[in-house]
Structure formats: structure tokens, C-alpha cells
């Protein structure tokens, strides 16, 4: 093949451009840490990249949701713990009062204390954390218990507050208040937690009520105590489940990160090695360039 000067210089230019282009590619990979920077670099990686990123975003979001689930659970549990204590104190006082030797003033003292304890139970039922009421189902912006109205009202909203903690898994995070803080105005006298306590208070202030009359309230109180305990054990069981799920989501996060990184991250050692190799190619191309512009026949003729 006949070779002319023009062809040599054109080829040299082509080689230099090629190697600059490759170096640019490696530079991009090093600067971004990504194997691909546009879909055409590898369409499959790009496509998967979109869904892996979405997965990761989801997992991260679920992790964020967990803190809110814990908030609900722990606050509800500690409130119910206080409710248990209050109820137990009421029970102790009732047992004392059922003693027929107590006179009216002693009973009055007990009545006073129970009235205060009732107020405390109201406060517990109206516990707020942040800007939401814990014990009003999903109606979190309304106060559930208001005993100042006639008749006194207690919300019966038992809608579960659900949080998505894993794709498609919705976990209830609140306790069911309709089983704990109750008031049934339809019976005479009104029943339910607050009805029964009112009843007890009424009996204590009634001089005609005997020890047996008061003792009869104990069974009801026990029932309410049991309800609170049930609600707490339900919370505890759910808490366990949430913790298990959290562990799983933590693992998922690691996996999602790994998958994403495997898919699109650049293998830095490889890129640097390639870059080094390309550098030497570039040097070779340059030094070849310096050589091909050789003295021609003209330089030797006079």
C-alpha cells in the first residue's frame, strides 16, 4: 500500500482523538464514581438503576416511618402503665372503703382521692404527644374525653392508626381506646370505666351504702384493670413485631445499597488501571506523532 504524508498525519490525529476520548470516559467514571453516566453507556444498568434507586428510597422511607411507630407504641404503653397504677390505687381504696367500720368522714376522704384519681385517668385518656391525641383512634386532633359536658362524653373512635412499615404491610400503632377508656351513657346508672368510677363515688357519698354495696364495685374495677392490661399486652406484642420488621428493613437497606452499588458503581481499581494504560497509549501516540513528521527527501537534495 502506498502511504503518503497526509495519511500519516490524519491517522495520528485520529489516534490522539481516540485516546483523549477514552481518557475522558475514565475521567467521568472517576469523578462520579459511577460506571455509567448516561443510559446509552449501558441501557440495562440504567433501567435497573432507576428501580434500585426507588427500592432504596422506599427502604429508607420505611426506616423513617419506624421512629413514628415507636413513638406511638412507647407513649401509649407508658400512658397505659400510669392508668394501671391509678386503677390499682382506686381498687385499694375501694377495698378499704368496703370495710363497714369506716365512718362518713373517712369515706369522704377516700371519695376525694378517688375523684382525683378519676381526673388523672381523664388526663391520661387525653394524653397528647406532639400535636396528636393518643387515645382517640384516628381522630387525633380532637380530645377524646370531656366530662364537663352533660352528659359527659367519651369518644368511641376505634379506627386503627396504621403506618406502612414495609411494602404493602400496614401495622396498627395505636392502642384501641374504646376498650379502655369507656363510658356508656345508655345504661342507668351509666357504665363503662368512667361510669363505674362515678357510680363508686356516688356510693361512697351515700350514707346508706353498705360495705357490700361498695365491695360489689370491685368486680367491675377488676374488669377495667384487665382491659388495660390486655391493651398493654397487645401493644407489647405489636412492638415485638415492629422490632422484627425493623431488623428486616435494616437488612433490606444494606442489600438495596449493595445491589445498587453492584449495578452502577465504578470499580475504581479497574478504572485507574485503565486510565494508566490509556495514559501510556496517549504518550505513545504523541511520541509517534513527533516521529512521523520526518525529514523528507527534500532535505537531502540540493
Amino acid at each position: 500500500m502506498r502511504i503518503t504524508q497526509n495519511m500519516l498525519s490524519a491517522n495520528m490525529l485520529k489516534n490522539l482523538t481516540n485516546s483523549y476520548e477514552n481518557m475522558g470516559k475514565y475521567q467521568d467514571q472517576l469523578a462520579t464514581g459511577k460506571r455509567i453516566n448516561r443510559p446509552s453507556d449501558d441501557p440495562v444498568v440504567a433501567m435497573k438503576g432507576i428501580s434500585y434507586r426507588n427500592n432504596l428510597q422506599e427502604v429508607e422511607q420505611f426506616k423513617r416511618n419506624f421512629s413514628e411507630a415507636y413513638n406511638w407504641n412507647e407513649n401509649s404503653d407508658s400512658s397505659l402503665d400510669k392508668a394501671t397504677q391509678a386503677l390499682q390505687r382506686i381498687r385499694e381504696l375501694t377495698v378499704q372503703a368496703s370495710n363497714d367500720t369506716y365512718d362518713a368522714s373517712q369515706r369522704d376522704g377516700i371519695k376525694q382521692e378517688i375523684t382525683q384519681l378519676k381526673e388523672q385517668l381523664v388526663q391520661i385518656a387525653n394524653t397528647k404527644f406532639g400535636d396528636k391525641y393518643l387515645f382517640n383512634g384516628t381522630d387525633t386532633t380532637e380530645q377524646p374525653v370531656d366530662l364537663t359536658t352533660t352528659p359527659p362524653t367519651v369518644s368511641t373512635n376505634n379506627n386503627p392508626v396504621k403506618i406502612e412499615l414495609s411494602k404493602g404491610v400496614y401495622i396498627q400503632v395505636n392502642a384501641d381506646p374504646s376498650k379502655v377508656f369507656t363510658l356508656d351513657n345508655s345504661t342507668t346508672p351509666p357504665s363503662g370505666l368512667f361510669g363505674d368510677i362515678d357510680n363508686l363515688i356516688n356510693k361512697l357519698s351515700d350514707p346508706n351504702s353498705t360495705g357490700d354495696d361498695i365491695n360489689a364495685e370491685l368486680g367491675k374495677l377488676d374488669g377495667h384493670l384487665q382491659n388495660v392490661t390486655d391493651a398493654r399486652s397487645e401493644l407489647g406484642a405489636r412492638m415485638n413485631r415492629i422490632q422484627l420488621m425493623e431488623n428486616r428493613v435494616d437488612e433490606q437497606e444494606v442489600i438495596a445499597n449493595k445491589v445498587m452499588s453492584d449495578n452502577e458503581d465504578a470499580d475504581i481499581e479497574k478504572v485507574i488501571t485503565n486510565l494508566k494504560a490509556e495514559e501510556s497509549v496517549q504518550r505513545a501516540a504523541l511520541s509517534v506523532g513527533a516521529r512521523i513528521i520526518q525529514p523528507s527527501l527534500m532535505d537531502f537534495l540540493r
Binding site: M1, R2, I3, T4, Q5, N6, M7, A10, N11, K14, I36, R38, P39, S40, D41, D42, P43, V44, A46, M47, G49, I50, S51, R53, N54, Q57, E58, E60, Q61, R64, N65, E68, G130, D131, K132, N136, G137, T138, D139, T140, T141, E142, N157, N159, V161, K162, I163, E164, Y170, E264, S296, L297, M298, L301
Partner: protein, 547 residues
């Protein structure tokens, strides 16, 4: 008996001929760097020997050579390589323009990245999840509104950017057409000049070069076939003749459309949808349509169809088609409806489908829920013109807007009046992954279902998978275009190398020739000196015996 002066004449011819060879060498050296130049060579031929065979020839032994003459000056060029070069150049033109258009599109879509559409939608999704956890919080509600605005803004940005690139491509089509038209005119002109020179037996080498270079340029835009037609009169055997140039179709078969016929040539015209694109002298080119006019541009002489009867792209390969494919073109389907095609048109259409589906389904889910402490039906979240339907969603990505909605009107709850219920926010956040072909998509927190097929412009899969498909297709198309651009570039370069190998000027070679011709010239001159001495002897030294 030969004449006394015959040697002088022979040497003179030698000098003249070597001199002309030196002139051509000079021409070669001068044009060593001229693009499109083909090195030239003087074909030496011996002159008729003496005596010519005839009845009354003088009786001398053998025929005596009478020297040399410059028979012809020829280009050293291989026609087959031109053919190959033009084929590869044509493919390169097509893939280059296609790769260019797709690469710009990739830049705009900017995927995968932290700030493409999918990332913005992901953030919107996250804000809805936060809302589902804290539905009574005004702060999380405001975040949802901001993120929703960001999604609408991203749709606008993508639409605007793609549209403006599309317009640029349209301008490029128009610039290319002007270029093609000017090349066609020039080829016609050069053909005319060649047609005037060749009948006299001359070889207009430099005009051939000019014409071949023009044809090379033309081959980049459209696929062509060159037929050579012999000139009138008495052309040399080596004459190239007149070029007739025909347009080939996508498969390389002749379309029967002649672009240049001798000195006659046509002009091409195209009109974009925005009336921006030039060359519509008669004003009757339809929207995104291609036509052929006579050289003065007054009369339409042919229609250039982009598609064949099977609705497949059949227009000649090359840069022009690459640009038109990117920019977009219109066809009429079997039902007589106009259909838009083209890379940018399709991408915009997909975006419109997404924006329409997104806004429409989001609004529908929003309407299934209730705002904060509110039991009335909430207002729309996104505004999208009522004229748009699932079958006619054009420009949805441009028209989608956030509705004038207050934070507490976002329907996070499925229970009227219950602030703490976040079920509907979950439904909203699930939108991205909902199977859009579902006729009864279940919703959280309610027994209601919605019929997504009635709301969505996308027929199958989810928004997410639809978008992944869009990006995947873009990636595959761009990858293929890049690869074939590189391939055809390499092939063109290698053919060009072969061509250069035959036709380009080597300075060393020319130097060598120069020395060769110079020495031959000198020797011929010396021969004259010898003749001179011989004649001196005859004239001045003879017949002086005894003087």
C-alpha cells in the same frame, strides 16, 4: 534516409515532454494539501517512428524512433473506492445525526441521577409517606405541596427542553436542505462545464475532482447512485463523462427519482410543523412533508415519501433522514388519520402520557379521601385542562400545574373528619407502582376501588415501569446509534485511507519524479549540444579539404 535535423527534433520533443511532466509535478506538489485533489500523471507516449510503413517508404534499416510526447494528463483514482466511500459516508451521516439527537435527549432526561424525573417523583412519594405517618402535621402537608410543585416543574422543564431541541433539529433539517440544494446546483454547473470541455478530447481533471468532492458531500445527506453518461463530440477514452445522480431508497434500490441529470438539477423542500423550515417556493408543502422542485423552484416535480406502503421508513438513508427521524414527521394511517412519528415526538408523547396519567389518577385518589378535619370532597391536587382525555393527552406535560390547594386540603385521610388517618396518603404514595391496567384497584382504608383503565393514558404496567421502559428504550437506541456511528466512521476512514493511498500526493514521490524528469530534460538538452557539435562539424568543419 532520415533528415539531418531529425535528432534535434527528437531531443526537442524530449525536452518539451519532460518539461510538461515537471509542470504536472509542480501542480501535484502545489495541491498536496488540497482536499479532494487527485494526483495527476502525464502519460508519455512514443511518437510515430520513421519511416511509417508505406509503399514509398525510404529504404533504411528498421524504423527510427522519433521521441516522446505527452499523450494525456490523467487523474490517478479508483472509481470503486469512491463508490465504497460514498456508501460508508452515507451511513455515517445517518448514524451521526441520530446519535447526536439521542445524546442531546439523554442529557435532558438526565437518568440515572439524583435529579432526574424519577428522583423528583421519588421525593414526592417520600413526602406522601411522611404525610401518611403524620397526617395532622401542617409541616409535612406543606412539604407535599412543594414536592408536588417540583414534579410539575420537572415535567415542564423536560417538555420545554425537549421541544426546544426539537426546534433546533428542525432548523438543522432546513440548513441541511439548503446545503443539499446548493450541492445539487453546483454538481449541475460542474456537469455543464465538463460537458463543454470533454467533446474536444480534453480531460478536465480539476473539474472532475471538484465534482467528485461534491458528490462525496451529497452522499452524506442522502444515498445516491451515480451513472456516467458519455459526452457528445469526440471525448477522450479516459473522459469521465457526465454524472447522472439518482436517489436511492432505504434498501439501496433506485427510487427512479433523478436529482441531477447533466446540467439539470432539482431542489428539495420540507416544511416543519411550525412553518419554520425553509424551501417551500410554491407554498403547498404539507406539514412535515418532503417535496422535489425543478431547478428554478417554481414547479413541483416529485414527491418524496418517507414511508413505504407498509408504513415502514423507506426514505434514503443519510443525514437528512436521521434529522427528520429525530425531528419528527407525519404520516397518514389506514384510517386516514394523521400520525406523528419521530424520536423527539415520541419522547414528548410518552412524557405527556405520564403527566396526564399522573395528574389524573392522583386527582382521582385525592377525591377518594378527605382533607384535614374535613368531610367534604377535597379539590383537585393537580390542574390539567378538562379537554385532555386518556386518548388525547397532547401537551399534558406542558400544561400540568399544581391546583390552588391549601395544605389542609390534601386528602391524607380515608375517614371523613379523622385527622390521624393516613390511609389515603398511602394510596397517593402508591400511585407510582399501581398496575394501570387494573379495573378495580383496591385502596387502603376504604372498600372503594378505582378503575385505573378509565383514568390512565398508559395502557399497561405502572408509571414506574413505563418510565423505566422509556429510559431503557432511549438507552438502547442511543447505544445502537453510538455504536453504528463509530463503526461507520471506522469503515469510512479505512476506505478513505485506501482512496488516499491511491490518489493522494506523496512529496517524496514527486521529488523523485522531479529529479527523474529534470535529468531526462538535461540529457535531452545535452543531446541537442551533441547534435549542435555534429552540425557544426558538418557545416563549418566539412568541405575545407586543403584549405
Amino acid at each position: 534516409m532520415t533528415s539531418t535535423f531529425m535528432g534535434l527534433e527528437t531531443a526537442r520533443r524530449g525536452m518539451m515532454t519532460q518539461q510538461s511532466a515537471l509542470y504536472v509535478t509542480g501542480h501535484n506538489i502545489a495541491n498536496a494539501n488540497t482536499p479532494g485533489y487527485t494526483r495527476q500523471r502525464v502519460n508519455f507516449t512514443q511518437t510515430e517512428p520513421y519511416p511509417a510503413a508505406a509503399m514509398n517508404r525510404p529504404q533504411i534499416p528498421g524504423q527510427m524512433g522519433t521521441g516522446v510526447e505527452a499523450g494525456s494528463i490523467q487523474r490517478i483514482r479508483e472509481g470503486f473506492l469512491d463508490l465504497q466511500y460514498r456508501g460508508e459516508n452515507n451511513k455515517l451521516g445517518y448514524w451521526q445525526s441520530r446519535a447526536d439527537g439521542l445524546s442531546k435527549m439523554e442529557n435532558i432526561m438526565n437518568e440515572p441521577s439524583e435529579d432526574g424525573l424519577s428522583a423528583v417523583m421519588g421525593q414526592f412519594w417520600q413526602s406522601l409517606q411522611d404525610l401518611s405517618v403524620n397526617p395532622e402535621n401542617e409541616g409535612t402537608r406543606s412539604v407535599v405541596l412543594e414536592r408536588g410543585q417540583a414534579v410539575a416543574d420537572t415535567f415542564h422543564y423536560l417538555h420545554d427542553s425537549l421541544s426546544s431541541i426539537q426546534d433546533d433539529l428542525g432548523n438543522e433539517v432546513s440548513v441541511s436542505l439548503r446545503d443539499i440544494n446548493s450541492i445539487l446546483k453546483k454538481i449541475g454547473d460542474v456537469n455543464k462545464q465538463i460537458g463543454e470541455v470533454e467533446p474536444h478530447g480534453y480531460l478536465p481533471n480539476d473539474l472532475y475532482d471538484e465534482r467528485d468532492q461534491l458528490v462525496d458531500q451529497l452522499s452524506q445527506y442522502v444515498d445516491i447512485k451515480v451513472t456516467k453518461v458519455k459526452s457528445e463530440g469526440k471525448p477522450s477514452d479516459m473522459a469521465e463523462g457526465i454524472y447522472d445522480i439518482q436517489l436511492l431508497d432505504a434498501t439501496g434500490k433506485s427510487t427512479g427519482k433523478t436529482l441531477v441529470n447533466g446540467s439539470d438539477y432539482v431542489q428539495l423542500g420540507f416544511k416543519g410543523s411550525d412553518n419554520k423550515l425553509a424551501y417551500d417556493p410554491t407554498g403547498n408543502i404539507g406539514d412535515k412533508d418532503l417535496k422535489m422542485f425543478n431547478s428554478t423552484g417554481e414547479k413541483q416535480v416529485g414527491e418524496l415519501s418517507l414511508l413505504n406502503s407498509n408504513q415502514e421508513m423507506s426514505f434514503s438513508q443519510g443525514k437528512l433522514r436521521g434529522l427528520i427521524e429525530s425531528y419528527g414527521y407525519k404520516t397518514t394511517d389506514a384510517g386516514g388519520n394523521e400520525v406523528d412519528h419521530g424520536t423527539y415526538t415520541e419522547m414528548l408523547d410518552n412524557l405527556d402520557q405520564m403527566a396526564f396519567t399522573f395528574a389524573n389518577v392522583f386527582n382521582a385518589i385525592q377525591k377518594k379521601g378527605y382533607g384535614l378535619n374535613d368531610s367534604s370532597t377535597p379539590p383537585d391536587f393537580f390542574n390539567i385542562p378538562a379537554a385532555l382525555t386518556k386518548d388525547n393527552y397532547k401537551d399534558a406535560s406542558k400544561l400540568i400545574e399544581m391546583a390552588d390547594i391549601k395544605p389542609d386540603q390534601i386528602a391524607a385521610s380515608s375517614v371523613p373528619g379523622d385527622a390521624g388517618d393516613g390511609s389515603n396518603a398511602i394510596n397517593l404514595s402508591n400511585l407510582q407502582g399501581m398496575e394501570l391496567s387494573s379495573t378495580s384497584q383496591k385502596l387502603e382504608g376504604t372498600t372503594d376501588t378505582i378503575d385505573l383503565t378509565q383514568l390512565s393514558a398508559i395502557k399497561n404496567g405502572s408509571m414506574q415501569s413505563f418510565y423505566e421502559g422509556m429510559i431503557g428504550k432511549l438507552g438502547v437506541d442511543a447505544q445502537q446509534a453510538n455504536r453504528l456511528e463509530k463503526n461507520s466512521d471506522t469503515l469510512r476512514q479505512s476506505v478513505d485511507e485506501s482512496r488516499q493511498s491511491v490518489s493522494s500526493v506523496s512529496l517524496d514521490e514527486e521529488m523523485t519524479n522531479m529529479i527523474k524528469f529534470q535529468h531526462a530534460y538535461n540529457a535531452a538538452a545535452r543531446n541537442i549540444t551533441v547534435m549542435d557539435e555534429m552540425l557544426d562539424k558538418i557545416i563549418n568543419g566539412m568541405g575545407t579539404v586543403g584549405r
